[in-house]
Amino acid sequence: MSDAIANSPPTTAPQPATQTAPQPSAASFLGLLPGILLLAIVGYAGKFIEQFITRYGKAHHLVLPNIEYVLWAILIGLVIANTIGVPQIFRLGVATYEFWLKTGIVLLGGRFILSDIAKLGGISLALVFIEIALGLVFMTYLGKAFNLKLKLVSLLAVGSSICGVSAIIAAQGAIEADEEDSSFAIAAILALGAISLFVFPLVGHLLHLSDRAYGVWTGLAVDNTAETAAAGALYSDAAGKVAVLVKTCRNAMIGFVVLGYAVYWASKGQAAGIQNKAAFLWTKFPKFVLGFLLISLLASVGFFSKPGLLAIGNLSRWAFLLTFAGVGLRTSFRDLSKQGLRPFLVGAIGEIVIAIVTLGLVFAADRLFHL
């Protein structure tokens, strides 16, 4: 995810990556604090409500539904963002939710030993390849059928097959697409991500999916990483963990797919050629994947004690708590309604098909490999 997003106002259609981010300074750091504090308050309020309901149920011998703090944090954020709005003073800090997401993912490495990653990651990688190929081909076909501009089709295909907003921003620069196209594609992906937060857990419960199967499905089918983590955690802590691992496998593919598109559009004379492909891949590769693997490696070789691993796992949970608050706070239904209908329709149809096909893949993988 680019710094441009982290420094832009929270909107459903972030400014493109070409925007110049302000240089870091003590003043700009202080400017982040109100928003980070708001993330912490909203996230903690969600946690407080979850615990309050549990305690109330126990005290009064009532069987109340166990609704995860994730949903409460997102709902509180949504209500604030869509009623009074997020005041300007909080916006810079709220936009750091992407940073907390990456930090949470890296620290999550402490909750996986490498053999887990090798097993689940190996199966996931195979499924990710199928999902990406399917997503790219189907979205391209669908976009053309709806007469969308070809570069917008490329952005939608990259966004829905790999990793949502960061993939779209990476691809926008590489294929020299219009900023308007990237805003449309980002808005479509974010709107669909918001819907999936509510739909995926419902479908998972209806089908009685195991935590692992649901996590793999969510990691394959939900596009934006923050929404993937939230949709997974809404089901269960274990499902959230698996969803993030599978999504991380998808994120690792971003450079290769964007490079493919860049080479394609350069061959048509509509984008600059790539001189050094290895350097391009390294630039686009999400570095937090390496951090995640490093922490997992350290955990696997016994670098941390058991209480230490517990502390690292809980630090990861706190970072995700800030992320989930940010997901609600940055989602403005008014901004979403301003996007073009056709990109949204193409995205929606594509997402539904991808969700159904990946669900089939997960069922097959579960039977074959006992996820």
Binding site: A17, T103, E176, F288
Partner: protein, 35 residues
């Protein structure tokens, strides 16, 4: 094409913060993190 920035990316900052926190846990400065 945008001019490449020399500043560290958001990903890199996230990795650095995570490694620092993990190190603080390892050397015992952060002992317990409640949840």
């Amino acid at each position: 094409m945008p001019v490449p920035s020399r500043r560290l990316s958001l990903d890199t900052w996230a990795v650095l913060l995570s490694l620092t926190l993990a190190l603080l846990v390892r050397i015992g400065i952060i002992k317990v993190v409640p949840w």
